[in-house]
């Protein structure tokens, strides 16, 4: 079974026969596809577990994008995200003995960094969550999804979401997880995940629609 990526799932969602939004459709992972590097990564994990710091450094390099990526989009602050990612890897070093495989490691990292990022967001008393409607629109309207202005604006919109909804959106669009995997990662009921995705996307779509030049001019 081939992996169904986010792009593919989006393409599938455009088929008229489908009534389910793309964001709510599960992502089929390549569970049965052989992974040639898995054995090597498991061996590296075993060496790290045995106290090999070089192996642990390799392991950090392999997973740093996963951990930092989630932290960065959750906290919307590179310095804070780097601190959090570093803490997560230090925590991993303490818990290496409990990690069974490289697949388990990725799942463990994703779960820990997401939960810790949610906690960090909630603890930011001095920086309260801004309601989505209160986020300022860009001075000039973005023209395409590749537009850096639109990307920055969208990151701001996502960063303004409540912590749990933000985590759901980040896991969906950055890690390309399906609702079931997101629910497992966040220890959240599946329907809550779907609800977060649906509501967040509805608001973001509405805000995007208002960015259209015609809409801005009331046309």
């Amino acid at each position: 079974m081939a992996t169904l990526t986010l792009a593919q799932s989006r393409a599938a969602s455009e088929m008229p026969a489908s009534g389910t939004p793309a964001a709510l459709r599960p992502v089929e992972r390549a569970a049965t596809r052989p992974d040639p590097g898995a054995d090597a990564r498991d061996r590296r994990l075993a060496r790290a577990r045995g106290g090999d710091l070089d192996a642990f450094a390799d392991l950090v390099r392999h997973h740093q994008r996963l951990v930092f990526g989630i932290a960065c989009r959750m906290l919307d602050d590179r310095a804070a995200a780097e601190d959090l990612a570093q803490d997560v890897f230090v925590q991993l070093h303490r818990h290496l003995a409990t990690i069974e495989s490289d697949a388990h490691l990725a799942s463990w990292l994703r779960r820990v960094v997401t939960h810790r990022a949610i906690d960090a967001v909630r603890e930011r008393k001095r920086r309260p969550v801004t309601p989505l409607d209160a986020v300022a629109e860009p001075m000039s309207a973005p023209v395409s999804e590749a537009d850096p202005l639109l990307a920055t604006w969208l990151r701001g919109q996502v960063a303004a979401l409540p912590a749990a909804a933000r985590a759901v959106v980040v896991l969906r669009y950055q890690r390309e997880l399906g609702p079931v995997e997101i629910a497992e990662t966040l220890d959240m009921p599946l329907n809550t995940v779907k609800s977060h995705l649906k509501r967040s996307l509805a608001v973001l779509r509405a805000r995007c629609a208002r960015l259209r030049p015609g809409a801005r001019n009331g046309q």
Binding site: R10, V90, S144, C208
Partner: protein, 125 residues
């Protein structure tokens, strides 16, 4: 029209906007430094910690056995002391009884000697 379609493709735009950043090549080094600082010992401490846990699991039954032996020995000592005290008390009671009997015997002997002494005195008068 195309511009509007692009802007409205929220899924693709979100995936692009939320794409994971990389912390850079120096990040792993910082993590290793933090691990060394936090542990205060070489990273092999992780395996040692695991080994330590196993070691404690092996030591636990031995410790329990030693504790039971110590408790048993203590119980035995207390019991021995109690028996010793009982024996001592019995000996003291027996000694007191013997002393009383001796006193009684001496008293009787004294009385009999008095009787004999008086009889001798009477016979001499």
């Amino acid at each position: 029209m195309d511009r509007e379609k692009d802007v409205m493709d929220i899924d693709r735009a979100l995936a692009r906007a939320l794409d994971a950043d990389d912390p850079g090549p120096a990040f792993a080094g910082k993590v290793i430094a933090a691990v060394k600082t936090e542990a205060g010992v070489p990273p092999a401490s992780v395996s040692r910690a695991g080994g330590g846990a196993i070691h404690w699991r092996a030591v636990l039954p031995i410790a329990a056995t030693i504790a039971m032996l110590v408790a048993g020995a203590r119980y035995q000592a207390v019991e021995t002391e109690r028996a010793s005290r009982a024996a001592q008390a019995l000996e003291q009671a027996q000694a007191r009884a013997a002393h009383a009997q001796l006193v009684q015997a001496l008293r009787l002997t004294g009385q009999q000697l008095n009787v004999v002494h008086r009889a001798i005195e009477r016979s001499q008068e």
